[in-house]
């Protein structure tokens, strides 16, 4: 069993993953078309989608893909760059380790010594990344960029008075260019800005509305296939992706009152296996039969409906399927009912209207009743849905159109990732824990690899880092970040090598600088003269970000990417041996199945 991620004579798993995503990398990268046996087609340029669609049983490969997936769900972008940086870092670390393996003498073979040196280097890199990298970025990279202000969103979409080159649309445009292609990147970025400006709340931080849209994105968009992409638009109101179960409201009187039901109105008193005993009661001489029982149930149901009618409720949104009796009574009472509404739509509804769902049908209060401005059916494509809006907050939904199912998925994912990326730009580090960086690093070093990759919170998230960068910091795209950081690191290395005790820092920053250079190299692999041009741009005047062809990218996303890569490298190199165990049920889910494996320490043997 190959115990190192990239041994000297064979390309490791990471090298293979790099070869997989390399063809889709960069602005000229191609798309990958996946076909399933069922005939479904998936079209993607997103690194995460490509990697998670591969069949991988190799533990290192699965671990890396897991890291990429987690990173992508936090930042929304940068999965291919992640793999590139990871591969080049591993190569350089192994090269450095094989050179300097004479340092440690207590190992049985050169291979073990090399592995130990590599691990040591990786830990140093991680420590360097956590301590000094943000300073270097703040001094060496940020001055070449600019800041986007949030107010660009609140500008009306019709006015194109965005004279400032640094605008959100530009950032989104370059994102969609790499993700969906050049054709519709303008349109998509415009649409996203419109959506975000509608959801902008006054007196709130920009990250609040971004977080809201990002969390509820599945409920906020409706995919419609069979139309050209340009037909995508925003519509007023929230769309519930279910049709009415009862005939819709005849009179469109406003305001409409609605309640949310989480359970069935008709309580299930009897379930399979229960025995209902019908018998005599004391002085009652008549027989009891099942008819009496069911009529009693119906009358209790009628009571509930009557209660709802007194509250003026006309619309019932139910999370489950209601029984036929309920349907009949609701139709009689001229209430419309929508069944099987999904969880996120209901939670969005509750959040917007400020009401709580009804748990217990016997206790229906006015706080459960929401007031809507309108509620009507809407036909989108081949499906009929229901649309409503509340009075206080005017939501808007996004309709995404595309010719085929695969493309719809591609656009929807791209939009969601774009919003996540914007969220990360404005809210650089969401520290989940408040402990300092040093103590959590120690505890994670001791933790086994298994928990490191399986815990819900990725390690870098639970480390509190002071964001030095201002929110909204952006830079020209096209490898400029990597180039600038490369030079900053080299300078740092030179200044460190002057003093002998900081010698280790010099080699570490040198290593990182060389690894970073691989990204612009791959971007410009098709056109080397562009690479030289971009290098020349670095020495250009400060703040020169008027390049229209390359677009913008977010600095905090890049920083987070670097930290994630360093974490991943440290975790990968901590593994000494992998023991395969066979699980009884090997299920392959979309979020890679967990095969149990442990790492052992075998250094110092012999």
């Amino acid at each position: 069993m190959q115990s190192s991620a990239a041994s000297a004579s064979n390309p490791g798993a990471v090298g293979v993953l790099e070869a997989v995503i390399l063809r889709s990398f960069g602005p000229e990268g191609g798309q990958v078309l996946f076909t399933r046996d069922t005939g479904q087609v998936l079209l993607s340029r997103s690194g995460t989608r490509i990697l998670t669609a591969l069949h991988l049983e190799h533990p290192f490969a699965r671990m890396v893909v897991e890291c990429v997936w987690k990173h992508s769900s936090a930042t929304g972008d940068g999965s291919k760059t992640f793999i590139l940086l990871l591969a080049s870092l591993l190569r350089l670390i192994h090269a450095a380790a094989s050179k300097g393996s004479n340092v440690s003498h207590s190992y049985s073979s050169t291979k073990a010594a090399e592995a130990a040196t590599a691990r040591h280097l990786a830990d140093k890199l991680l420590a360097f990344g956590l301590k000094e990298l943000d300073e270097l970025i703040a001094t060496g990279v940020v001055p070449y960029g600019g800041c986007i202000s949030w107010e660009d969103f609140t500008v009306e979409a019709q006015t194109s008075s965005l004279t400032n080159n640094l605008c959100v649309q530009k950032l989104l445009r370059s994102f969609f260019h790499t993700r969906c292609g050049y054709t519709h990147c303008d349109f998509s970025s415009h649409l996203t800005c419109e959506l975000l400006s509608h959801w902008n709340f006054k007196n709130q931080l920009p990250s609040f509305s971004l977080q809201l849209v990002s969390d509820y994105f599945p409920a906020l968009h409706t995919p419609v296939s069979g139309f050209p992409v340009r037909s995508s638009r925003l519509i007023e109101g929230q769309v519930i992706h279910r049709d009415f179960a009862t005939p819709p409201l005849k009179t469109d009187h406003q305001p409409v009152k609605a309640v949310v039901l989480t359970g069935s109105l008709q309580p299930t008193l009897l379930s399979t296996g229960d025995v209902l005993e019908l018998g005599y009661r004391g002085r009652m001489k008549e027989e009891r039969s099942i008819l009496h029982f069911s009529s009693w149930m119906e009358s209790s149901l009628q009571g509930v409906i009557a209660k709802l009618q007194t509250l003026g409720v006309c619309v019932l949104l139910s999370a489950v399927k209601q029984s036929a009796a309920v349907l009949a009574l609701a139709t009689q009472a001229e209430m419309c009912l929508v069944e099987c509404v999904s969880e996120d739509e209901l939670s969005l509804f509750s959040q917007l209207s400020g009401t709580t769902p009804i748990w217990d049908c016997s206790m229906i209060e006015s706080e459960h009743v929401a007031t809507l401005a309108f509620c009507r059916p809407i036909q989108l494509g081949a499906h009929r849905y229901k649309k409503h809006t509340s009075i206080t907050i005017k939501p808007c939904s996004l309709i995404i159109c595309a010719p085929g199912e695969g493309q719809i998925e591609q656009y929807a994912c791209a939009l969601q990732d774009a919003i996540r990326m914007l969220l990360r730009t404005w809210e650089p580090m969401l520290a989940a824990a408040t402990t300092t960086s040093k103590s959590t690093l120690q505890s994670h070093k001791g933790a086994s690899l298994h928990t490191d990759s399986l815990t819900e919170q990725t390690p870098y998230r639970s480390i509190a880092i002071q964001p030095i960068q201002k929110p909204g910091c952006v830079l020209s795209a096209g490898g400029l970040f990597e180039l600038l950081l490369h030079y900053a690191l080299l300078q740092h290395g030179h200044s460190c090598s002057v003093s002998p005790d900081l010698n280790i820092d010099a080699s570490v920053s040198q290593l990182l600088a060389n690894a970073l250079l691989s990204v612009p190299q791959k971007i410009y692999s098709h056109s080397p003269h562009h690479f030289l041009e971009s290098q020349r741009r670095v020495e250009g005047p400060l703040g020169d970000v008027s390049e229209l062809d390359l677009g913008l990218e977010s600095v905090s996303c890049k920083y987070q990417l670097l930290l994630a890569v360093l974490q991943c490298v440290a975790s990968l190199l901590k593994v000494d041996a992998v023991l395969p165990t066979h699980t009884a049920l090997h299920t392959q889910s979309r979020r890679l199945a967990r095969t149990s494996w442990e790492d052992t320490e075998d250094e110092g043997e012999g």
Binding site: S9, G12, P580
Partner: protein
């Protein structure tokens, strides 16, 4: 597996021209392997958690549950061309090496061989660059020589089983015969040495490796005999 307790005085020096070429060739091969594997993954093959026993590349499995090693089955092995029993060119170059070795100052008497015989095939006793030398040269580099000054055959012990005895179609010439005889001699010397080592060996791992060396020497002798016929 650990046989040495003492420290290796391992001074790192920059690689020579020949080594650079070997490193470059190896890197290109790795890139080719990566690219091929990536293509197969995108076609729907599964990347397994096992590596090929022969070359160490990660195995792929297709939809019919058949395992597939990209480097063994698609790319030609890059060390077969250095095996003197299989390739006349390699045999000729080995003769040249020995002549040069005889002329240059004798290499320092190596101390008692204390690492595993599997690394014995790496030899760089003669510092002149030999571009077509086997790939083990660059990796092993500076390990001490076995006592006989004759460089052992460059058949790596692990891949001897791989290389089948291909009947070569070289014409019978006197130079060829001379070369083959010398190769035979060298193999026999090595066989003798390995037998001696085996008799005195105390470690299990070392014995196993010595046995495999003997096995590969026997195979080489067989191939050489076939060549002479």
């Amino acid at each position: 597996m650990a046989l040495n307790g003492d420290e290796e005085d391992f001074k790192w020096e920059p690689p020579t021209e020949a080594e650079m070429k070997v490193i470059q060739a190896r890197r290109e091969r790795q890139d080719k392997i990566s690219k091929l594997m990536g293509d197969y993954l995108l076609k729907g093959y599964k990347m397994l958690g096992e590596a090929c026993e022969v070359c160490g590349t990660i195995l792929l499995q297709d939809k019919q549950q058949k395992n597939y090693c990209v480097s063994c089955q698609e790319l030609d092995s890059d060390i077969d061309k250095d095996n003197p029993a299989l390739n006349a060119q390699a045999a000729l170059s080995q003769v040249r090496e020995r002549q040069l070795a005889a002329q240059s100052p004798a290499p320092s008497q190596a101390p008692e061989l204390n690492d595993s015989p599997s690394s014995s095939q790496e030899n760089m006793s003669v510092p002149q660059p030999r571009p077509e030398h086997c790939e083990g040269a660059a990796a092993g580099g500076r390990t001490p020589l076995p006592p006989p000054a004759v460089p052992p055959p460059s058949t790596p012990a692990s891949t001897a089983a791989l290389a089948p005895a291909r009947p070569s179609v070289t014409p019978q010439s006197s130079a060829q015969r001379l070369v083959l005889q010398e190769a035979e001699e060298a193999v026999l010397t090595k066989l003798r040495w390995a037998t001696n080592q085996l008799q005195s060996s105390a470690s299990l791992e070392a014995s196993i490796q010595l046995c495999s060396l003997i096995n590969s020497c026997a195979n080489s002798l067989r191939s050489l005999k076939e060549l002479t016929q």
